[in-house]
Amino acid sequence: MTSSTTPAAPASWRARFSGGASVRLESLVVLVVLSAAMALLSNAFLSVSNILNILLSTSVFGVLAIGMTFVISSAGIDLSVGSILALSGVVGAMLTSNLELPWWIGILGCLMTGALTGAVNGFLVTKAAIPPFIVTLGMLGVARGVALVLSDGVSIYGLPFQMVWLGQGRPFGVPVPVIVLLLAALVAHVVLMHTRFGTYAQVIGDNEVAARAMGVRVERMKVLLYTLSGLLSGLAGLLFAARINSGEPTAGLNYELTAITATILGGTNLFGGRGSVVGTLIGALIMGVLQNGLNLMAVRPFYQQIAIGAVLILAVWLDRINSSEGWRR
């Protein structure tokens, strides 16, 4: 037994603070320090309209990161979220704009496209036993390609106003996508921390063999997890298309990078076993603040890519230095 060599760590102030909910205090500190720095560097940063802007831009990849949290908790990965986002948006736009079907079919179309594509990922991971990294990397190409083929590579404009409201509406001044993100996060938090589904997702990431031996239907769970990630990608695709009032085949490029980074920053174990939706929300906000701050300082977008990639590597590196758990196996 390897663990007998590690003495039980005394309950640290950090462990007590997080109450085992695995929200990393560090990520909150990073968010506060980063925000303070941005506020010092730019007068516009702390204005209400800018904060709403940050939340709005966070909402799309935030929704992706929620699905990613479940998948990474189970020791999987979903690289196809950005492409599924684009495909879903294109399908939703085609249904309503080209085929002139009602708005609710457009919404259902986005969600169903995402869920179905995710289910295909899940079946390939379980039935064909292909590693999730490969399956979703392939799907990253396939879904993007299908989106380009369907749309002929051009944007599909003119969504019904009900759909557009989902992206541009501001009840009580709060953008609808922000409300959607918060609602999705609330539901996801309860599911991950307080239901069998969420528990099993994490147990599969912790010890898949044990999960199976104890009666967890691991294959079914995995199909559901990738379907959930696809469904949320479809939701993100809907929000994205609604916000710009068009189905865009090139939408969500590199969003998998942002979503994975947000998830890891939030304290979800890269190798599975432990996940936190609240942490992911904080991680997504860090990404949002970073992008917004760089925008305000008129840093060219090219550099933002560098920043996001560097943050991902840095977050994993710090995690490696900090924790023994998870890196041993």
Binding site: S3, T6, A9, Q202, V209, G215
Partner: protein, 253 residues
């Protein structure tokens, strides 16, 4: 009717015949020792009983009902628990959620089944207390416990749901002498409660001290199946290693 009946159970992995027709049975309240060299097929056989593997042939009956084709959850539900050699614990979760792994207690909230952590913790605490295990708190992360404590958690999990048959795969291999005695006492206790036990162990002294019958597995078949008083340490050892000059008794192929 026996509690558990295995008849001609077969399992192959590619070209490897792990089980070549295993037949034996376990009675209610009896302790059967299953011994054999590494690779004899003991663990494969047990995982076939618990539904982790599906047999390629033969019949497995529990209380007269066939287990073939059932998944591990259904087989646990039927009353068979196994304590795996690697303990099968989720190390990043606390003791209580490991004890209830796969059988979480839930409460209804607006039609949604939420996990009842409070009740799980108090029941896990009671179980750990009954076993006299030295686990400080059921909210401790399982991966931070000592080997013996982790063993206690795995045992508590197997015994919490009133099993009728408990399979133990090398339960004493990682334990200190005093802890070994504790596990053997526990097996005697299960026997008193009319629970069937299959004990897999390399420690023949343990096997001889608690088992009613000893089944020797070699190259995927039962090479000997004797009541403990009718056999000897020497006989069992020669069966295990396949020496032909040992005393030959009981069932032979």
């Amino acid at each position: 009717m026996s509690l558990l009946e295995l008849k001609d159970v077969r399992k192959t992995f590619g070209a490897i015949e792990a089980l070549r027709g295993v037949t034996f049975s376990v009675e209610e309240g009896s302790v059967v020792g299953l011994v054999g060299d590494n690779g004899a097929g003991k663990s494969t056989l047990m995982k076939t009983i618990t539904g982790v593997y599906r047999p390629d042939g033969g019949e497995i009956r529990f209380n007269g009902v066939s287990l073939v084709g059932k998944d591990p959850g259904e087989i646990r539900e039927a009353g068979i628990e196994m304590i795996y050699q690697d303990l099968a614990l989720a190390r990043m979760r606390d003791v209580a959620s490991n004890i209830f792994l796969g059988r979480e207690l839930t409460r209804n909230m607006l039609g949604v089944k939420l996990i009842d952590t409070k009740r799980m913790r108090s029941e896990a605490e009671a179980m750990i207390g009954r076993l006299g295990a030295r686990v400080k708190s059921v909210t401790q992360m399982t991966g931070q416990l000592s080997g013996g404590q982790q063993q206690s958690v795995a045992i508590a999990r197997a015994l919490t749901f009133n099993p009728r048959l408990v399979i133990m795969d090398e339960p004493t291999a990682a334990l200190a002498v005093r802890e070994v005695e504790h596990v053997l006492d526990l097996i005697r206790n299960l026997k008193k409660q009319r629970i069937g036990v299959i004990l897999i162990s390399h420690r023949l002294t343990d096997v001889f001290s608690v088992c009613d019958r000893i089944v020797v597995l070699r190259q995927g078949t039962v090479i000997a199946d004797d009541a403990t008083p009718d056999t000897s340490m020497n006989a069992v050892v020669s069966h295990i290693v396949g020496a032909t000059d040992g005393p030959q008794r009981g069932a032979h192929p």
